[in-house]
């Protein structure tokens, strides 16, 4: 309760461990509460449920670390799904081209966000809120407000659902999520763009004064987030074997919540991919656990809300004690 933060900052790694402790506590709790919870198939189900939001959260971690925010990831993802449908069904592209096209389209969305933020200088909240609205409208316009089905590509759904380990029900989508996690972690902590994300988030003016081309790197960062949005859109479309033109609103808050629960600061400058993944899992495990234990649904958001508050608070306490 000290009013003035002389920051007894702790490194990312410790913070992740703390969020991890909350995650484990929740896992243990539900394992006792329901015999069906801690089963391989349910755990895979949780990972599957965490995949799309998790991938969005990975990308948005870069943006948040750099001190920005991206509200367009939810509806942007929907739009990328629709574009998958447009490429593969309307334009008859082969599946691989459709997938790459949709991912690049996500990158384009991110690039436009980055342009609006860094070149035009719009506040990230407004720039991406505008994009959120534009993307949600375009999904409807482009799809003609109808789902697009992958008639020509009946196997497209395997992208998400293919069993990697025969017989063991470990879907390809989850593997992709895990691989992307590793990629994101390496990029954020071991490459120049990651370093500059932290630097810009920590003190943008000083970074610019140090001779770093902040405009260009912010463009890059938002574009990276956009690529993740594209991947999430493709996987969501694959899972439902159709590009659904509605929805996505609210997903951005869920993804941002995952990032913040994972210890990334919305002020920028501090955060980690491992934390984000743990944050995404906390939300997914909680939602699944409450359903498996058949808690009435109207109570679920109350519980999720409280757990988020408690998890973040407990983290803070321990961080202080440190």
């Amino acid at each position: 309760m000290t009013a003035i933060p002389i920051p007894a900052r702790v490194r990312g790694s410790v913070q992740q461990l703390l969020a991890l402790a909350s995650l484990i506590a929740i896992l243990v709790f539900f394992s006792f509460a329901s015999p069906y919870f801690f089963t391989p198939s349910n755990l895979v189900g949780i990972l599957m449920a965490a995949t799309v939001t998790g991938i969005l959260a990975l990308g948005t971690t870069f943006v948040i670390v750099s001190g920005g925010i991206d509200l367009s990831i939810g509806t942007g993802m929907i739009l990328c799904g629709v574009m998958t449908g447009v490429f593969m069904t309307y334009w008859g592209w082969p599946a691989w081209a459709g997938v790459i096209g949709a991912i690049l389209f996500g990158g384009l969305i991110g690039f436009i966000n980055g342009f609006n933020v860094s070149v035009l200088g719009l506040p990230p909240f407004i720039a991406t809120l505008g994009m959120m609205l534009v993307a949600s409208g375009l999904s409807l316009v482009i799809s003609g407000t109808k789902p697009i089905y992958f008639k020509e590509h009946p196997d497209f759904q395997l992208l998400m659902n293919y069993d990697v380990i025969p017989g063991a029900r470990f879907p390809l989508g989850v593997l992709i999520f895990l691989v992307l996690t590793v990629v994101a972690a390496v990029v954020l902590s071991k490459t120049i763009v990651g370093r500059y994300a932290f630097s810009i988030g920590s003190n943008e003016a000083a970074t610019a004064l140090s001779g770093v081309n902040v405009v260009r790197w912010k463009l890059t960062i938002y574009t990276i987030a956009g690529l993740f949005v594209g991947i999430a859109g493709v996987l969501a479309a694959s899972r439902l074997s159709s590009a659904q033109p509605v929805g996505g609103m609210g997903l951005e808050l869920e993804a941002i919540a995952a990032v913040v629960i994972g210890g990334t600061s919305l002020q920028g400058g501090r955060g980690s991919i491992a934390g984000t993944v743990v944050g995404a899992l906390i939300v997914a495990v909680l939602t699944n656990g409450l359903r498996v234990t058949a808690v009435p649904q109207e109570w679920q958001s109350v519980v999720v809300g409280c757990v988020i508050l408690v998890a973040v608070y407990v983290d803070m306490l321990r961080r202080k004690a440190n």
């Binding site: 329901s34 069906y36 919870f37 089963t39 198939s41 349910n42 189900g45 599957m48 449920a49 799309v52 409807l140 407000t145 109808k146 789902p147 089905y149 659902n161 029900r169 879907p171 969501a236 899972r239 439902l240 074997s241 159709s242 659904q244 033109p245 509605v246 929805g247 609103m249 939602t287 699944n288 359903r291 498996v292 234990t293 058949a294 649904q297 109207e298």
Partner: protein, 301 residues
């Protein structure tokens, strides 16, 4: 057609009929809109069709209604999310002498001249009946309902539940969860299947919910072991029913709803007398009758 006509609604003295629905993003509403536009062409009236951006958002719908009343159309078609909430505006329409036709579900007010709708309670009971027959009148089932508070959500839940309670003592409804978003519905149906390994059937109360259930069952590798009963149509459901992965579904006649609403509106503008309600009907369809002309006419892809 809608937009051309709408650019200058009311000019060249064509009567103007404004439809306010609960939503517009889902295919169901697009089908209603198509029916309405078809009738508009047939009877030579301008038709606009708008719904809440977010289905079920009463506030947004009221805004739409207000804007439309201010435009003084010849008649209004209205599918209320909450009919009481629209009370003051209904009075306002009445004072402005604009006839109101209710559609989709009833409006709890004496202002509307007539109601063109589906009896959702009866339709849901029909779905329950088929579910019970298919699983042999015993065992556990669950429900994924698209919405917890809207009239259609509540009626499609209650109609189903009441039928089972009254007629099927050996069937137990073990869980009711809510989501009309296909992706979310998939995850929650999976959780239901996980928690109830001996489940025999799941009911999905609209297109989004039914698709979610369908994918959940597929992902769980339980295709064929779980009886799925859905609602509305759409390509996914139609294909699944043809392939036998989904048992069957209830369809309303959305095109008919739109068409009948505009037709009644035109009659009201002309001052003709109308019946108190127009039942637009619903049908059970499954593998056996899906290709019947009567059925395929009301299904939308």
């Amino acid at each position: 057609a809608c937009s051309e006509a709408a650019e200058k609604p009311g000019t060249d003295k064509k009567p103007y009929v404004a439809l306010i629905s609960k939503g517009f993003r889902h295919q169901f509403w697009q089908a209603v809109k198509a029916g309405a536009e078809q009738a508009g062409k047939e009877f030579n009236v301008d038709v606009t069709f708008e719904g809440a951006q977010e289905e079920g958002n009463v506030e947004q719908q009221i805004q739409l209604l207000q804007t439309v009343i201010d435009k003084k159309p010849g008649a209004i078609g209205f599918a209320a999310i909450d009919s009481q909430a629209a009370g003051p505006l209904m009075t306002q329409a009445k004072n402005a002498k604009i006839p109101v036709i209710a559609f989709d579900s009833g409006v709890d007010s004496d202002v509307p001249i007539t109601t063109a709708s589906t009896d959702n309670l009866a339709a849901a009971a029909e779905a329950a009946k088929h579910m019970a027959e298919k699983i042999g009148h015993e065992g556990k089932i669950a429900m994924v309902v698209h919405d917890q508070t809207s009239v259609t959500g509540v009626q499609r839940r209650d109609g189903f539940q009441e039928y089972i309670k009254k007629n099927e003592p050996k069937i137990q409804i073990v869980d009711v969860q809510y989501s009309g978003d296909p992706l979310k519905a998939t995850d929650l149906a999976k959780a239901i299947l996980t928690a109830n390994p001996d489940l025999k059937g799941i009911y999905g109360s609209n297109e989004g919910a039914a698709i979610g259930v369908l994918h959940a069952v597929q992902e769980k590798g339980l295709t064929g072991k779980i009886t799925i009963v859905g609602f509305d149509s759409g390509k996914d459901q139609i294909d699944a029913i043809k392939a036998g992965t989904m048992y069957g579904a209830i369809t309303q006649n959305p095109v008919g709803i739109g068409y009948e609403t505009v037709k009644a509106a035109v009659a009201a503008i002309k001052g003709e007398k109308l019946p108190k309600s127009i039942d637009t009907g619903f049908y059970w369809y499954d593998k056996t009758n899906i290709d019947d002309a009567k059925i395929s006419a009301v299904l939308y892809q």
